[in-house]
C-alpha cells in the first residue's frame, strides 16, 4: 500500500476548467460546503419570513380577542358596539390575519424548513464539508462524487418542499413532526383531497425522504474521512473539537435518518396505497374514513422521535464543537479539559438515543416507561454541564479578544444554558404534564436548538468567512447585529416561557382568553411580535455584511485570528487542492497550543515543527 503510493510522483492538480464542473456540479468539498451554506442562508430567510407572517397574525388575533371582550360588555345595538364590530371586521380583513389552516401550514413549513434545511445543513454540510478535510489534512472528502450527490439531493429536497406552496391546497399543516392521522388522511382535516393535507403533504413526505437519503450519504462520507484520511501526526486526540463534533454528528445522522426514512416511506404508503401502519380504525368525519382497523399513530411517534431527538443533537453538537474551538482561540488559552469535551460529546450522542420518549409523555405512555425516559433525560444534563463548565473554564483567566465570532460564541453558551434550564423542567414527566404543548416548550426548544445553533452558524460565518472568501467581514456591523439579535431572541423566547407558565397553549391560531388573564397574554404576544419583527429585520444587517464584505471587505491574511488549526496554515481562500501541490503538512502539536510558556509567540500552529514547543512547557491539556 504505502509502497504503491510512495512510488507515485506528486504533481499539481488543476481545477476543472468548465464553469459548471467547477462551481455548480462540483466535487470539490469547498464548493459543496459553500453550496450547503448558501442553501441554509436562503432557507433561513424563507423560514424566518414565515415566522414574521404568523407572528403578525398572532398579534392581530390578540387585538381582535381584546376587542371581542369589550364588545361582549356592550349592548348589541349601541353605536359603540357597531363601531367596534366594524373595527374587528377591518382587522380580520387584513392580510396578516390567516385562516387557522393557513396558520398551521405556515407553522409547519417554518419548522420543517428551519429544522431540516437550516439546522441540519449549515453546521454539518456547510462548515463541516468545507473545513473537516482541511483541518485533518486531507485533499478532499473520501468520496467527492458522493459528496456532490449529497448536496444536490438536499437541494432537490428543498425544491420539493418549496413546491408544496404552489400545489392545490397549499403546504401541509400537520406540523414539522407530521403526526398521523392528520398527516395520513387528508379527509381527517374535514377537507376534500384538495385541502392542505393533499399534495402538499405528499411533497413534504417526499422531501423528507430525499433529505434522509442525502444525509445518510453525507454521514458516511464524514465518518470515513475522519477515520481514514487524517494526515500524518493528526491522531484522533489531536483533532480540533470541531472535527470531533462533526464526527459524532455524522454517527448520529447515520443511525437516526435511516429510521426517519422508514417512517416517511410507511407514511407515504398509508397516504397513497391504502395501508394501515399508522391509521387507527373507526376514524369518523361525517362518514367513516377508513375501512380497516388497528393502525398505530403512536408507532409513528416512536419512529419519528427515535430520529427526532438525535436530530436535536445533530443541530447543536457541531455548534458545541465550533464554540469550544472559538472560546479557546479568542481567550488565547487551551480548551479546558479537551478529553472531557470529547467524552462529553460522545456521551450526549449516545444518551441522545435513549431519551426520545420524553417527547411523548402525553401520548398515553405508561408512567413507568415515562420515568425511565425522564431519568435518561436528566442524564443528558451531565455531559451538557461538563461542556458548560469547561467552556467557562476555558474563558477563566483568559486574555479574551471580543471579536464578533467570539461574541456569537459567547451568545451560544448563554443561550444554551438558558434554554437548557427549561429542559430540566420539561424532561420530568410529572412537570411536563403541565407544560406540555404550551408556549414554554416553544420558548425552550427555540432557545436551545434553534437560536443557539443559529448563533453557532453566525460564529462560524464570522470566523471562517476570511478563509472561505479571502476577505474580512465588517466588525462593527457584526457587533451591532450580535447585540440586537441576542437581546431580541432572549426577549422573544423568555416571554414565551412566561406565557407557557401561565398555560397558553401552542399551535393555536386564535384564542379565547376567558380562562387566562387576557391582557397579560395579549401584551406578551405583542411584545413577542414587535421584537420578532425587529430581530428579523436585523438579519438584513448580516446579509448586507456578507454581500458588502464579499466585494469590499479588507483582504484577509492567511491567519487573521492567530489560530492554530491547519486551515490557517494555507492561503485565504485555499487553493483547489487545499495544500499546495497536494503536499499535506505533518502535524506535530495538539489543536489548542495557546500561551505555551516559553514559546516564541502566544500560539503554536499544528503543523509547526516539534521544536516550536519548548520541552520545558507543561502539558497542554
Amino acid at each position: 500500500m504505502s509502497a504503491e503510493s510512495a512510488a507515485e510522483h506528486v504533481h499539481v492538480h488543476e481545477p476543472p476548467s468548465s464553469f459548471i464542473r467547477r462551481w455548480i456540479f462540483s466535487t470539490d468539498h469547498k464548493v459543496v460546503g459553500i453550496q450547503y451554506w448558501i442553501l441554509a442562508l436562503v432557507a433561513a430567510f424563507v423560514g424566518m419570513w414565515l415566522s414574521v407572517v404568523f407572528r403578525l397574525h398572532l398579534a392581530n388575533e390578540g387585538t381582535i380577542a381584546q376587542l371581542n371582550n369589550q364588545l361582549s360588555a356592550l349592548a348589541p345595538d349601541s353605536a359603540q358596539a357597531q363601531a367596534l364590530t366594524e373595527q374587528i371586521k377591518a382587522l380580520q380583513a387584513k392580510w396578516f390575519v390567516l385562516t387557522p389552516e393557513k396558520y398551521l401550514s405556515y407553522l409547519t413549513m417554518h419548522g420543517t424548513i428551519l429544522v431540516f434545511m437550516v439546522l441540519t445543513t449549515a453546521p454539518m454540510g456547510g462548515f463541516g464539508n468545507y473545513f473537516l478535510p482541511i483541518q485533518i489534512g486531507a485533499l478532499d472528502m473520501a468520496f467527492p462524487r458522493l459528496n456532490m450527490l449529497s448536496i444536490w439531493l438536499t437541494i432537490l429536497s428543498f425544491i420539493t418542499l418549496m413546491a408544496a406552496f404552489f400545489v392545490p391546497g397549499g403546504p401541509p399543516n400537520s406540523g414539522w413532526t407530521g403526526y398521523p392521522p392528520l398527516s395520513a388522511i387528508p379527509a381527517a382535516q374535514g377537507k376534500g383531497y384538495e385541502g392542505p393535507g393533499g399534495y402538499g403533504q405528499d411533497l413534504w413526505v417526499l422531501s423528507i425522504a430525499i433529505f434522509c437519503f442525502a444525509s445518510l450519504v453525507g454521514a458516511i462520507n464524514f465518518i470515513v474521512t475522519t477515520l481514514d484520511l487524517r494526515t500524518k501526526g493528526m491522531t484522533m486526540l489531536r483533532m480540533p473539537l470541531t472535527c470531533w463534533a462533526w464526527f459524532v454528528t455524522a454517527i448520529l445522522s447515520l443511525l437516526s435518518f435511516a429510521v426517519l426514512l422508514v417512517a416517511g416511506l410507511l407514511l407515504l404508503l398509508d397516504r397513497n396505497a391504502g395501508t394501515s401502519f399508522f391509521i387507527p380504525g373507526d376514524l369518523f368525519f361525517n362518514k367513516p374514513l377508513v375501512d380497516h382497523r388497528g393502525g398505530s399513530p403512536i408507532l409513528f411517534q416512536h419512529l419519528f422521535w427515535f430520529f427526532g431527538h438525535p436530530e436535536v443533537y445533530i443541530a447543536i453538537v457541531p455548534g458545541m464543537g465550533l464554540v469550544s474551538h472559538l472560546l479557546s482561540t479568542f481567550a488565547r488559552k487551551p480548551v479546558f479539559g479537551y478529553a472531557a469535551m470529547v467524552f462529553a460529546i460522545f456521551g450526549i450522542g449516545i444518551v441522545g438515543f435513549f431519551v426520545w420518549g420524553h417527547h411523548m409523555f402525553q401520548s398515553g405512555m405508561s408512567p413507568y416507561v415515562a420515568v425511565a425516559f425522564s431519568v435518561m433525560t436528566m442524564v443528558v444534563g451531565v455531559p451538557s454541564a461538563i461542556k458548560t463548565f469547561n467552556w467557562l473554564g476555558t474563558l477563566w483567566g483568559g486574555n479574551i479578544r471580543f471579536t464578533s465570532p467570539m461574541l456569537y460564541a459567547l451568545g451560544f453558551v448563554s443561550l444554551f444554558v438558558t434554554g437548557g434550564i427549561g429542559g430540566i423542567f420539561l424532561g420530568q414527566n410529572a412537570v411536563d404534564i403541565y407544560f406540555h404543548d404550551t408556549y414554554f416548550v416553544v420558548g425552550h426548544f427555540h432557545l436551545i436548538m434553534g437560536v443557539a445553533a443559529i448563533f453557532a452558524m453566525f460564529a462560524g460565518t464570522a470566523f471562517w468567512f476570511p478563509k472561505m472568501f479571502g476577505r474580512m467581514m465588517n466588525e462593527p456591523l457584526g457587533k451591532i447585529h450580535f447585540w440586537i439579535t441576542f437581546a431580541g431572541v432572549n426577549v422573544i423566547f423568555i416571554t414565551m416561557h412566561l406565557m407557557g407558565l401561565e398555560g397558553h397553549p401552542r399551535r393555536y391560531s386564535g384564542f379565547n382568553y376567558d380562562f387566562l388573564s387576557s391582557n397579560y397574554m395579549v401584551t406578551c404576544h405583542k411584545i413577542v411580535t414587535h421584537t420578532a419583527i425587529l430581530t428579523a429585520t436585523t438579519q438584513l444587517l448580516l446579509l448586507v455584511n456578507i454581500v458588502y464584505s464579499l466585494f469590499a471587505g479588507p483582504k484577509a491574511t492567511d491567519n487573521p485570528w492567530e489560530a492554530t488549526s491547519l486551515e490557517w496554515a494555507i492561503p485565504s481562500p485555499p487553493p483547489f487542492e487545499n495544500f499546495k501541490g497536494g503536499h499535506v503538512p505533518e502535524v506535530h502539536h495538539g489543536p489548542y497550543e495557546f500561551s505555551v510558556p516559553g514559546a516564541a509567540k502566544d500560539y503554536i500552529m499544528q503543523q509547526e515543527p516539534p521544536e516550536a514547543r519548548p520541552a520545558t512547557a507543561p502539558s497542554a491539556h
Partner: protein, 226 residues
C-alpha cells in the same frame, strides 16, 4: 490523572495510523492509479484500501437501522392491532433462500479463486453466482405475484403490507448487489478484476454476504411472528 491519559493516547495512535495511511499523509498524496470511478474529484487523493471497507460497513449500519426500524414496527404493530391475519408465505421463498445462499457461496468461492490467481475459475463461479442472484430476484417476483393473486395485496391486511415492505426493501438492496456483481463481471471480462487487489470483488462479495444475513433475519421475523 486525566492529563496522563491524554498524553498516552497520541503516542499510541500513530501506530494505528501508519499501517495504511501512507496515502493521505502529505508527501505521497499521489494519483489514484486506476482512476476508474473512485471519484477522486480530480485531486488525485489516494484512498487506502480499508477506506472502502469502512464506507461499506457504515452504509450497512445505515441499512441495518432501516431493517431494525421495520422489524420493530412489525412487532409493535402486530401486537397493538387486533386485525393481524397470519400470512401463508409462498413456498417459493424456500427456493429463493437456497438460491441466495448458493449465490453467496459461489461468489465467495470465486473470490478465493481470484485471490489464488485463477481468473478463468473466477469468471465461471462469479457469473454463476450472479445468475443465482438474479434468480432470487425473479423468485421474489413470483412470490409477490402469487400473494397478489391470492388476494393478499399491499393493502389487504397489515401482515401483507409488512411482507411487501420488508421484501421490497431487501430486494432493492439485492438489486444494488446484483448491479455490483455485474460490474465486477464486466471488469472480469475486460480482464481487470484483479485491479487493486480485487477490491471491487471483495467489496461486492462482503455486501452480498451481509444481504444473506439480512434475508434470513427478515424470513425469521415473518416465521416467528406470523
Amino acid at each position: 490523572m486525566a492529563a496522563l491519559e491524554i498524553r498516552e493516547a497520541p503516542a499510541a495512535a500513530p501506530a494505528r495510523l501508519s499501517e495504511g495511511a501512507g496515502g493521505p499523509s502529505g508527501p505521497a498524496g499521489g494519483s489514484d492509479g486506476g482512476g476508474d470511478g473512485d471519484g477522486d474529484g480530480g485531486k488525485g487523493q489516494h484512498l487506502p484500501r480499508r477506506t472502502y471497507f469502512t464506507a461499506l460497513w457504515l452504509a450497512l449500519a445505515g441499512s441495518f437501522m432501516i431493517f431494525a426500524a421495520l422489524a420493530s414496527s412489525y412487532i409493535v404493530r402486530r401486537g397493538l392491532g387486533g386485525d393481524w391475519q397470519a400470512l401463508h408465505l409462498p413456498p417459493i421463498l424456500w427456493f429463493n433462500t437456497l438460491a441466495l445462499l448458493g449465490s453467496s457461496a459461489l461468489v465467495e468461492w470465486a473470490r478465493r479463486g481470484l485471490a489464488a490467481g485463477r481468473l478463468d475459475a473466477f469468471r465461471m463461479r462469479w457469473l454463476s453466482g450472479t445468475t443465482l442472484g438474479l434468480m432470487f430476484l425473479g423468485g421474489q417476483g413470483v412470490a409477490w405475484w402469487e400473494l397478489h393473486r391470492a388476494g393478499m395485496t399491499l393493502s389487504a391486511n397489515i401482515s401483507a403490507s409488512f411482507f411487501y415492505v420488508l421484501t421490497v426493501a431487501h430486494a432493492l438492496h439485492v438489486l444494488v448487489g446484483v448491479g455490483a456483481l455485474l460490474y465486477v463481471a464486466a471488469l472480469a471480462l475486460k480482464g481487470r478484476a484483479e485491479a487493486k487487489g480485487g477490491l471491487a470483488a471483495d467489496l461486492s462479495a462482503l455486501y452480498w454476504h451481509v444481504l444473506d444475513g439480512v434475508w434470513l433475519c427478515v424470513l425469521g421475523l415473518m416465521l416467528v411472528w406470523r
